[in-house]
């Protein structure tokens, strides 16, 4: 079985700092991270590999610095990683991105001589764009079934059994076969940290680069040219309302907080 994990490098927005003098975002030194749900995807791939045996392959489209994210994925334990990097890929929306990723998966399957015995894992959504579109679009491009919002995943004999979160509290259990694409949620598992020896190993492996010619992409379908949507404006939402800092002992602060939450009918 081949397991492809789609990985996106995103800014670690949880660590965004605001300059107290200018009240603007401090962009300097903000580390890039692997999109958190993609880490759940990597963890699932590694668990399946440990349980059933598989070859695990990470794929990312991005600038050369995205190599760092793939290196971390190797350190976590993926067997191989490919970085799709090319000026022709730049400015892609979700459609062009999915097209590019699926061409790479097709090409790799061809190289491996593999037809159907594969699984594609995506994080449900990325914390920067938040579209949740790439997974489903990759499945469409590959012409394989897709199951989104996956919170539990099992293989029994040749069947894939998946729990899909549905309308908040409901769960749908779906049975299918490979090949399939799943997009996973953070509840699925707890991603492992790379071990120190895993990090050492990852630098003895290669993050392989692929350009548009390697995956036989036609320029009109990729990058900005192949994109159907255009970003009109990006802005940081304005903070609504005032904040209050409570002072005093922990007990005093907690009771004051509870009082205020009650007043505002939040509890």
């Amino acid at each position: 079985m081949k397991i492809f994990v789609c990985i996106k490098q995103v800014p670690g927005v949880s660590e965004v700092k605001i300059d107290p003098e200018t009240n603007t975002l401090v962009r300097e030194g903000i580390p890039s991270i692997i999109n958190p749900m993609d880490k759940n995807g990597i963890e699932l791939a590694l668990e399946l590999k440990e349980k059933y045996g598989a070859e695990t392959i990470g794929i990312s489209m991005g600038p050369p610095q995205a190599e760092e994210a793939l290196r971390e994925a190797l350190a976590m334990g993926l067997d191989e990683t490919y970085l799709l990097t090319d000026r022709a890929f730049a400015g892609a929306d979700t459609l062009a991105t999915s097209h590019t990723l699926s061409l790479a998966i097709k090409k790799l399957l061809e190289n491996y001589g593999e037809r159907d015995n594969y699984l594609v894992i995506c994080g449900t959504q990325a914390i920067d764009g938040d579209t949740a579109q790439v997974g489903p679009e990759v499945a469409e491009e590959l012409g394989i079934p897709q199951i989104t919002y996956v919170q539990k995943f099992e293989i029994r004999d040749d069947k894939v059994i998946v729990e899909r979160a549905f309308r908040g509290e409901e769960v749908v259990i779906i049975e299918t076969k490979l090949p399939v694409l799943v997009s996973v949620l953070r509840d699925l598992n707890e991603p492992r940290y790379p071990t120190l020896d895993g990090i050492v190993d990852s630098y003895e492996k290669e993050v392989k680069y692929l350009n548009h010619e390697d995956i036989e992409a036609v320029k009109k379908n990729i990058g900005l040219v192949g994109s159907q949507t255009e970003v009109w404006r990006i802005f940081v939402p304005k903070r609504k309302g005032e904040h209050i800092i409570l002072e005093g002992s922990i007990e005093e602060r907690v009771s004051e907080l509870c009082q205020k939450l009650k007043e505002d009918k939040l509890i």
Binding site: P31, E72, Y193, T195, L196, D197, V200
Partner: protein, 384 residues
Amino acid sequence: MEFSLTKRQKMIRKITREFSEEYIAPVAEESDQTSQLDPKVFEIMKKMKYFGTCIPKEYGGAGLQDDTISFCIVTEEIGRIDASWSITTGVHCSVCAYPIYIYGTDDQKDRFLVDLATGEKLGAFALTEANAGSDAGGVQLTAVKDGDEYILNGSKIFATNGGIAETLLVVTTTGQKGRRKELTIFIVDTNTPGYSVGVREDKLGVRASNTSELVFQDVRVPEENILGKVGQGFRLGMQILDYGRILMAAQCVGLGQACLEASIKYANERVQFGQKIGRFQGIQWKIADMATAVESSRLLTYKAAYKCDIGEDYGHAGAMAKLVASESAMQAAHDAVQIHGGYGLMKAYDVERYFRDAKMAEIYEGTSEIQRYVIANHLLRKGF
């Protein structure tokens, strides 16, 4: 001259920082108050190879034996969150596992190193006694040859990891060489009959780290367990401590960094006299001095590690690093508490713990005075 870290070193920092913040930080205060290391953290650190950082992969370690800068980064990042943990892993790796890797026989490596590198067993280095510490030559614990065994009698005090260690490097005296004692180091399995743990010390700082008295009553150790040769104990002991000092310096860099970060955060939040206290020059100067001292310590520490990695003599460089880093951490902790005012005295604030942990660092693994002695001794003998 190249000051930037390699990509691999940067990743080691990033991952160790994320791990320490996620797993060690939430339990650091509790560990300090209960004087216990968290067993869950222990398990994850074993898996992540923090007990085998400087040991080759073939012995179950992380494979960073030639990258002491990475070992420093690991120790610094753990020390930034909790010095009790960084001293536990730092001592285990640097003055127990690593010496067995460097000076041990193949048989000793097979018997002891894998369990140490994987964290299955914890290691300690036992030198200090009631009448020997700074004066290492004053060791009174005797090892007397009996057939192909040695019988150890005496006791050690203040052994870091001592009470929970299962593999010890014990500095003993095996006789007299002219006016000096002949010292020999033994690898001792703590399951050997006659060995027992005495008092566990209740300390000012690094409280979760185990510091214990070790008692040897007719402990029979096979001669295959001698590290190096009979009589090499003083020289090997000094070399082992030279290496360990670099890591203790790294731990102090992390501790100083923690003081700096806490101070910056507080100075940007706390309002007095209608403005954030960070706008007062009195606070600014403290923060500027703290940052300068921490950065100086970091550079000296990495320099000592670098000298070690390229095979240069690093003894006095390590002593300089340990001296500057521990005294800088103490000053940083002093100022961090001062900046926090009354809150800085409270256990609810981390700086209170940093202050106690920093004072320890000026004393353990060679006091500041001994570091100055090592540095001066080197300069007066060999020149600069």
